[in-house]
């Protein structure tokens, strides 16, 4: 850049990335990770600030030509330039995802963004970290011009599009230096009103207050970054740029050293890892998928498959069931049309990838069959046998089950090497996790194939060994058992919910039982209770049994711990539960019944079981354990997952807590050997 400023020949410049599909996707995280003190990080931030300030103050106009991801530091660079031109394709997204990593935009972003797009929009971007598509960015004033991606020409379209972007950017750079083009943007009426309102100090104060309230409510004070972002923006606006930049770099340094930030960055790395297929490319790509059962799960799996271009058969036993499933897929797609993520034409063409049917026609061409029939072993056996009679030799049979051991399902298979578990989470189109379960007999190619399909469906994937409850359900079960005990000890469902959400769980524990379904919870608790014995005890199964017998199945039946009514937002506690709870009441143990103890009783049982899964080899890596817990079960992201939590919190402290509860309740809290090993050697860490 210095060359550009030094040379008289150069009157303007264009910044463009040579890497296709990516402008700059943010700063190097390893650089932050290697810092030991906040001061080091602050220094990195200040270097960035200085660099971008130079760009901003450049007398020669600089045009950022953006194609692909323009995130974090990339966006901060772009908004330091005098002009921005972006390609209008799906890959081009702009955003400040720093908050998702527990930090803040540390290279001037907190100061420039509010000036550029207005305070409310800047808060929205920085506090949610959401990606903004190019066309939206243009409307917001984040980019000045859009360039449509080109189709086939005399070169590969991607190559020519970048060239075209550069040509257009050069034209604008010249225009800017010749003063033929102004960098000032015409603001719309709404924008003008907002910026006028923002010039009134009282309004500004109200906005800070409102945003802060909202953030506090949503983060429950568990995440420090959003509040600091508000603070830094406020400092910049109220006390001027210099104070703003100083505050930004200092707070950036502080945040980068927090446990929350380390936890979130760990999750980020884990997620990247779980988006790769470590089993290599399958021998045969899955092009034709068949799904058995058009229930909530089956239709959900169908939806995430067809919208990636997989030809999918959705088979159900009844026309009514099938129709419900097809409608679910259509609604899922249509909601995207309403949000303008799809055009209605794209929706129709995607929906035509789905074939709904009641028979097995076309299964002879299927490359993979995913069964999502009712969780009943004999039923699963029956469909497996029926399907195996029809499908080609290479076809993979995947079972979507949350608890039935895959090896038991595969027991009746003629080709157990082709049988695998694919445990999706509900709702399938929203939950990112896919847990793939391999048996001893599952072949590597079958696994590769399942992972490839899962990745195509946009899932974050963990691959675990077969066993009762696999990994996710197995970790959840002891915690659920503790939930029952806590309820039996007289804690109100509402109180329990607020205790768990205040701890960082996205859904309260009692609500979670209702969401999962009381019958399902009972089913799983019985099965796993048989398999694991006393360790899974605690609460009384009788509670779930009585609920099922009264028809309190949770959300799906309209009543569980709460009452669910269409259109009623604040759900009420189901008073009919009082009797059941009273009849099963056990006296609380006062030593371990403080709010904090209740929270930790839930958490430590979860964590202990997770570590045991690693110890027993159900889990291959701790990273997968963290991803599975956070993305599948809603383990508090601020803790980074059970393994990261042990690392950051200290294994000894976790063991101490477990011992304390063990003394009261016994074996259910006995720490597993691997956890004890970690406690004994404090330098041992699960996550590097």
């Amino acid at each position: 850049m210095n060359e550009i400023w030094a040379s008289d020949q150069i009157r303007s410049a264009v910044l463009i990335s040579s890497k296709p599909g990516c402008f700059i996707a943010g700063a190097d995280l390893t650089m932050l990770a290697s810092c030991k003190t906040p001061e080091e990080v602050t220094q990195i931030s200040q270097e960035g600030q200085r660099m971008f300030e130079k760009l901003e103050k450049s007398t020669k106009p600089i045009v950022a030509a953006i194609s692909g991801a323009c995130l974090g530091g990339g966006l901060e660079l772009a908004i330091s330039c005098q002009y921005r031109i972006a390609t209008k394709d799906r890959k081009t997204v702009l955003g400040t995802p720093e908050v998702l990593l527990g930090v803040l935009p540390g290279a001037g972003g907190t100061q420039r963004l509010p000036r550029m797009v207005g305070v409310p929009a800047a808060f929205d971007m920085m506090l949610t970290g959401r990606n903004i598509r190019a066309d939206r960015a243009k409307k917001m004033g984040l980019v000045d011009q859009l360039v449509e991606p080109l189709g086939p020409g005399l070169k590969p379209p991607e190559e020519r599009t970048i060239e075209y972007l550069e040509e257009v950017a050069v034209t604008f750079a010249k225009g800017l230096s010749d003063k033929k083009i102004s960098i000032k943007r015409d603001k719309g009426l709404v924008e003008k009103l907002i910026s006028y309102a923002m010039s009134i100090p009282f309004v500004r104060q109200q906005i800070y207050k409102k945003v802060e309230e909202k953030v506090r409510k949503q983060t429950k004070g568990l995440y420090p970054a959003p509040l600091k972002i508000i603070d830094v923006v406020k400092t910049g606006i109220e006390q001027g740029n210099d104070a703003g930049y100083l505050s930004e770099s200092k707070k950036f340094g502080e945040l980068a050293m927090t446990k929350e930030s380390k936890a979130l960055m760990g999750l980020y790395h884990g997620q990247v890892l779980c988006k790769k297929n470590k089993f290599g490319a399958p021998q045969k790509e899955v092009k034709h998928l068949a799904i058995l059962g058009a229930g909530l799960m089956g239709a959900g799996i169908a939806q995430v498959s067809v919208d990636k271009g997989l030809k999918t058969i959705l088979k159900d036993a009844t026309l009514a069931g099938l129709g419900r499933g097809q409608q679910q897929v259509f609604k899922g797609l249509n909601d995207k049309v309403k949000k303008k993520a799809l055009t209605s034409f794209e929706r129709d063409s995607i929906f035509s990838n789905l074939t709904g049917q009641l028979d097995y026609k076309g299964f002879e061409k299927a490359d993979m069959v995913i069964e999502a029939v009712f969780e009943d072993l004999s039923l699963k056996h029956r469909v497996l046998k029926e399907v195996e009679a029809l499908i080609p030799d290479h076809c993979v049979f995947a079972s979507n089950t949350s608890a039935l051991p895959i090896s038991e399902i595969a027991a009746v298979s003629k080709r157990p090497e082709k049988v695998i578990g694919m445990h999706y989470f509900s709702p399938v189109d929203k939950m990112q996790l896919l847990e793939i379960i391999t048996t001893e007999k599952t072949s590597k190619d079958t696994t590769a194939s399942a992972v490839a399909v899962g990745l195509k469906q946009g899932k974050v994937i963990i691959v675990v060994k077969d066993g009762p409850g696999f990994y996710t359900t197995r970790c959840l079960a002891p915690m659920m058992s503790e939930v029952l005990r806590i309820l039996q000890e007289g804690v109100e469902p509402k109180k329990l919910d607020s205790l768990t959400t205040n701890f960082g769980f996205p859904v309260g524990a009692a609500t979670l039982v209702d969401e999962v379904g009381v019958d399902v919870a009972k089913h799983v608790a019985e099965d796993l209770g048989k398999a694991f014995g006393e360790r899974f005890g605690g609460g009384s199964l009788e509670l779930l049994k009585q609920m099922v017998s009264r028809g309190f199945l949770g959300r799906k039946s309209g009543k569980g711990f709460y009452i669910y009514q269409e259109g009623v937002k604040n759900k009420n506690v189901n008073s009919d539960m009082d009797g059941i709870l009273a009849s099963l009441k056990v006296p609380p143990k006062s030593d371990v019944s403080s709010d904090e103890d209740i929270q930790y009783r839930l958490l430590t049982r979860f964590v202990n079981e997770a570590v045991l899964c690693l110890q027993e080899g159900i889990l291959a890596t701790p990273a997968e354990g963290d991803i599975g817990a956070v993305f599948g079960l809603g383990f508090p992201p601020c803790l980074g997952g059970p393994f990261r939590f042990v690392d950051l919190h200290g294994a000894q402290k976790v063991v101490d807590r477990l011992r304390k509860y063990e003394a009261v309740y016994g074996k259910q809290f006995t720490p597993c050997q691997l956890l004890i090993d970690h406690a004994n050697s404090p330098n041992r860490k699960f996550c590097q």
Binding site: R11, L150, G151, P152, G153, L154, E163, T343, F345
Partner: protein
């Protein structure tokens, strides 16, 4: 070569006029290079054994007028009727000899959705002559002709009139769906109470109308945008596009002045003067053209109002016959209609590349090469579209990567190309341009000499068409 130059050029620190100008001749001539000297034809005739020879006896069109001018108060079937009457007058055919009538149209007037029948009735054709209307965007008239060819070739009929009509001065602006729904329900409502309760549902936004646009339904993109992107994808410069448009206008002017556009028949517009010639020919100067702002991709696009074809009102009609029938009735046909193809591609990125895909196919079918063609008549939707098609046809890379062909087909030599103007200058009727192209090819072969003409056009929906026209021996 051009792209390399442009590439290095734009990395230079500063613009200077001379550099730009030095590029210009290069960029134009590289693709529009002259064809090899006339060769002997690889074939004598394209007649095929056991297939009827189909001839066009003659074809006419009423003058092509820019929308909103003399035809603006008429209805589409008025224009179609005028074309039919012109054809009757020109070819002197008894009306009852005509077996069947087919018209192409795109923007439908809902009152006359089968405009072919309405026009035929008005023109005094026999009540017993059936008629139907086809639609296939800009190649609707081609579809009308080839439908006729099919009917004759299969032996069903001997004499078919094919044509096309479009009236862009009046397009069906509709009430919103909500308003339409309410009006239909009001019509069905029996009691005052029902009516009142329906009327109470009325909201002001029901009144916002639905306007038709020259846009793809599937991609919601305006064709002008697609043309601009296509030009960019093939690196066709603004200057080249303007030059090409200028060529079209000057050739059209010349052809008009020299009286070559013999397919035009005068039309006495009720209440107005008789229209005798096309009114869209505007020979601009290079400077005037350069001043125009981009019409679609603002502010940096290359497609402008002048290097695009304009909205046009008019109609055309032609008589297609089995050769033996024509000879038996004592007619002297103008040309044979030979092999034709329809193609279709991705409507998003290859919307306007129809000719590129269609031409190698039709040439192969007929057993001809580009060198055999004496007269090219392409539909000029946009300058950029024509030049992009030239580049695509001239690219081995494109042929191999997108068309599954080993080599390029080659681009047409410019001196044989649209010599009497094209859609840019004469105007473009979505529904009727096909007939103009065929008649221009036939008339040019008669006038300039030569045996084969090649007609090609692109159309909305990513479709395309090409047909071989063979001169009838004199």
């Amino acid at each position: 070569m051009t792209s390399i130059l442009t590439y290095t050029f734009k990395n230079l620190p500063n613009t200077s006029k001379w550099a730009l100008q030095s590029l210009r001749p290069l960029s134009c001539s590289s693709q529009l290079r002259s064809a090899p000297a006339a060769q002997t034809k690889s074939k004598k005739t394209l007649a095929k054994p056991n297939i009827r020879n189909i001839v066009v006896v003659d074809g006419v069109r009423i003058p092509f007028l820019q929308s909103g001018t003399s035809y603006k108060d008429l209805m589409p079937h008025d224009l179609a009727r005028a074309a039919l009457l012109g054809l009757l007058h020109r070819t002197n055919v008894p009306k009852d000899v005509v077996d069947y009538i087919i018209f192409g149209t795109v923007i439908q007037e809902v009152k006359t959705s089968n405009v072919a029948r309405e026009a035929a009735l008005g023109a005094g054709f026999s009540y017993r002559t059936p008629a139907h209307t086809v639609t296939m965007a800009c190649i609707s008239a081609n579809e009308a002709m080839t439908t006729g060819i099919g009917l004759i070739a299969s032996g069903q009929y001997d004499v078919v009139v094919a044509g096309g009509v479009e009236l862009m001065s009046d397009v069906p602006n509709r009430h919103s769906r909500k308003m339409r729904k309410m009006m239909i329900e009001l019509n069905k409502a029996k009691t005052l109470g029902q009516r009142l309760s329906l009327i109470l549902k009325f909201r002001l936004n029901f009144l916002s109308p639905e306007l038709p646009a020259v846009a793809e339904f599937s991609t919601s993109e305006t064709m002008g945008h697609s043309a601009d992107w296509l030009a960019a994808a093939f690196a066709v410069s603004r200057l080249d596009q303007d030059e090409y448009a200028l060529r079209s206008h000057s050739l059209a002017k010349k052809a008009q002045d020299e009286g070559l556009l013999s397919d035009v028949v005068p039309f006495k517009v009720p209440g107005k003067d008789t229209v005798t010639k096309d009114n869209g020919i505007r020979p601009f100067s290079q400077e005037q053209m350069a001043k125009l702002r981009p019409a679609f991709i603002k502010p940096y696009g290359t497609v402008t109002a002048v290097n695009s074809s304009f909205l046009t009102d008019s109609a055309s009609a032609m008589r297609i016959m089995a050769e033996e029938k024509a000879l038996a009735m004592g007619y002297k046909p103008k040309a044979y209609l030979r092999d034709f193809v329809y193609v279709s591609q991705d409507p998003k990125d290859q919307l306007l590349l129809g000719p590129t895909y269609a031409i190698p196919k039709v040439l192969e079918k007929a057993g001809l090469t580009m060198n055999d063609i004496d007269a090219f008549e392409f539909h000029e939707a946009f300058s950029g579209q024509i030049l992009a098609n030239f580049k695509a046809m001239d690219s081995d890379w494109f042929a191999q990567n997108y068309m599954g062909r080993k080599t390029k087909v080659g681009s047409p030599p410019l001196e044989k190309f649209n010599n009497w103007g094209g859609s840019l200058s004469l105007g473009h009727l979505f529904g009727a341009t096909g007939c103009r192209l065929v008649m221009a090819a036939a008339n040019r072969l008669r006038k300039e000499g030569g045996q084969y003409g090649l007609v090609a056009a692109c159309a909305a929906g990513g479709q395309g068409h090409a047909m071989i026209v063979e001169a009838y021996p004199k």
